[in-house]
């Protein structure tokens, strides 16, 4: 504070006062802290502190800070407004028609808050004054490590067991419930296949030549593939994409792409 003492004498005291106030405001942890300090200056038991007087002290403090154009945090101003309100409530005779807490109730609560904060500070100091570990008393300096012997137990529930069993059994016995499609050639498959191939069939071709690869020899598969391909060819005839013919009973069935007029 002394390093810039070069400026005139007149305003030094003002400036020091201002600075003192700044320091003071900074030194308080919020309005409640400031109120507690102001309350203590009344030199009475906090329970008997005059809230009215306290409110006036606070408002005077804020007023002074404003004059000195010291920036006060919003909560200081909110508290000031609230205290002004409280002051008016305490001074005016109570309005019986008015709802809400009376001035006395509000004042009593503020007194309670101040007393509680003060009490917490006292016990905080008492707590810190206690013997502390690592300062006044000590724990074992060479703790012996406790060897952990890990024993693993396995567990399973009945449900796990049931599920596991069902899982193993699902692999075979349950399968027949699902359609076995391994040896089944569906009409949809045959249709897809035919649609892809008939474009090249400009002449009469034996239907059996359209059987998919690998389905021609195994009797089960050939039957399935033949049936599907035949049904598919009928479907394509129905839609006018193919013509189909059979020269004689049991003679090979032949198909041919139908000439469709363009457009």
């Amino acid at each position: 504070m002394a390093e810039d003492g070069a400026t005139g004498f007149g305003d030094v005291s003002d400036r020091l006062a201002a600075e003192a106030l700044i320091v003071d405001v900074d030194g308080f942890e919020g309005p409640l802290d400031l109120l507690l300090t102001l309350g203590r200056t009344q030199k009475v038991d906090l329970r008997k502190v005059s809230i009215l007087q306290l409110a006036e002290q606070y408002l005077a403090f804020v007023e002074k800070a404003k004059q000195l154009r010291i920036e006060l945090a919003a909560d200081y101003l909110v508290m000031a407004a609230w205290l002004a309100f409280l002051k008016s409530k305490l001074l005016l005779p109570p309005d019986p028609s008015e709802e809400g807490p009376s001035g006395e109730e509000l004042a009593a609560h503020l007194a309670f808050q101040l007393e509680r904060l003060s009490a917490m500070r006292d016990v905080a100091a008492k707590l810190m004054a206690r013997d502390q570990m690592g300062r006044d008393f000590f724990a074992r300096g060479i703790p012996e490590s406790v060897e952990r012997v890990r024993r693993v137990t396995y567990t399973a529930t009945l449900m796990d067991l049931m599920k596991a069993y069902a899982r193993t059994r699902t692999k075979d016995e349950f399968r027949p419930y699902i359609m076995d499609r391994e040896n089944l050639f569906t009409m949809e498959q045959a249709l897809d296949r035919l649609r892809g191939l008939i474009g090249y069939a400009g002449e009469w071709t034996n239907l059996m030549t359209y059987l998919p690869e690998g389905w021609e020899n195994d009797p089960v598969r050939r039957r399935s593939a033949t049936a599907a391909t035949f049904a598919a060819s009928l479907e394509l005839v129905k839609h006018g994409h193919l013509t189909i013919r059979q020269e004689d009973t049991f003679a090979p069935i032949q198909i041919k792409l139908k000439e469709v007029p363009r457009g």
């Binding site: 942890e29 919020g30 309005p31 409640l32 802290d33 909560d75 809400g100 807490p101 109730e105 509000l106 009593a108 609560h109 309670f112 808050q113 007393e115 509680r116 904060l117 009490a119 917490m120 500070r121 006292d122 016990v123 905080a124 008492k126 707590l127 810190m128 206690r130 013997d131 502390q132 570990m133 690592g134 300062r135 006044d136 008393f137 000590f138 724990a139 074992r140 300096g141 703790p143 012996e144 406790v146």
Partner: protein
């Protein structure tokens, strides 16, 4: 404490021969001596042979260590050996540089200890300023406070309570032994008193729930001791 031996009484007649009490005392002594951390009665029993009654052995041992350079101390639900406080002056060499706690942190710690379980909003209400995240974090990091149950009020805020480490550090047997606790309670300074005109905040059933919480915290110590 007193209940445990009763529970274990029939063990003496069991197939497992419990070691003689003198031997049990030695065991408790060895375990507590070797450990830097407090050890619970349950853990003592678990580590000692079947049929041992750690609670009884502890009592005997505590008498034996009375007035010695090392003491047997109860910390919450656990027991620990600590050097006698009057000999602290001999230990300069051991003294751990303790981190200086800020005034905010010290006050917050005290509020948690005396008002537990307490929410951040309540701490702020009591201190009249907002509590910075760092303050709470520091106390959590020191493991002096921990999260308690959530409060059953709107928003279900978390609460804070003090830990066994806290008790251990300040040489407290339980949170009930906090200095001045009875006086504060008698003066009504630990009541959660909502500001007049504010209804529904911390009222009614929530209030009941809270006091239950607190009761439980303090009762726990009562019954288990």
């Amino acid at each position: 404490m007193v209940d445990l031996p009763d529970d274990l009484e029939p063990v003496e007649e069991s197939l497992f021969e419990a070691p003689p009490m003198g031997e049990q005392e030695r065991m408790v002594e060895a375990i507590l001596f070797a450990s830097a951390e407090p050890v619970t009665v349950a853990e003592l029993n678990a580590r000692m042979p079947h049929g041992a009654e750690a609670a009884v052995a502890l009592e005997n041992l505590q008498k034996r260590y009375e007035g010695r350079g090392v003491e047997l101390r109860k910390v919450g639900e656990a027991w620990a050996m600590r050097t006698a406080s009057d000999l602290g002056f001999l230990m300069q060499k051991e003294t751990v540089e303790t981190r200086k706690l800020s005034r905010a942190a010290i006050e917050t710690l005290a509020i948690v200890a005396y008002h537990q379980p307490v929410t951040r909003a309540e701490i702020e209400e009591i201190r009249g300023v907002s509590v910075s995240r760092g303050t709470v974090d520091q106390l959590l990091e020191l493991e002096w406070i921990r999260f308690g149950r959530r409060r059953m009020t709107p928003g279900r805020p978390v609460t804070y309570v003090v830990t066994q480490d806290f008790l251990d550090h300040f040489g407290l047997e339980s949170a009930r032994d906090l200095p001045g606790l009875k006086e504060l309670r008698a003066a009504g300074l630990l009541d959660s008193r909502p500001p007049p005109g504010m209804v529904g905040l911390g009222d009614g059933e929530d209030e009941a729930d809270d006091s239950q919480d607190q009761d439980e915290l303090f009762r726990e110590e009562d019954t288990d001791e």
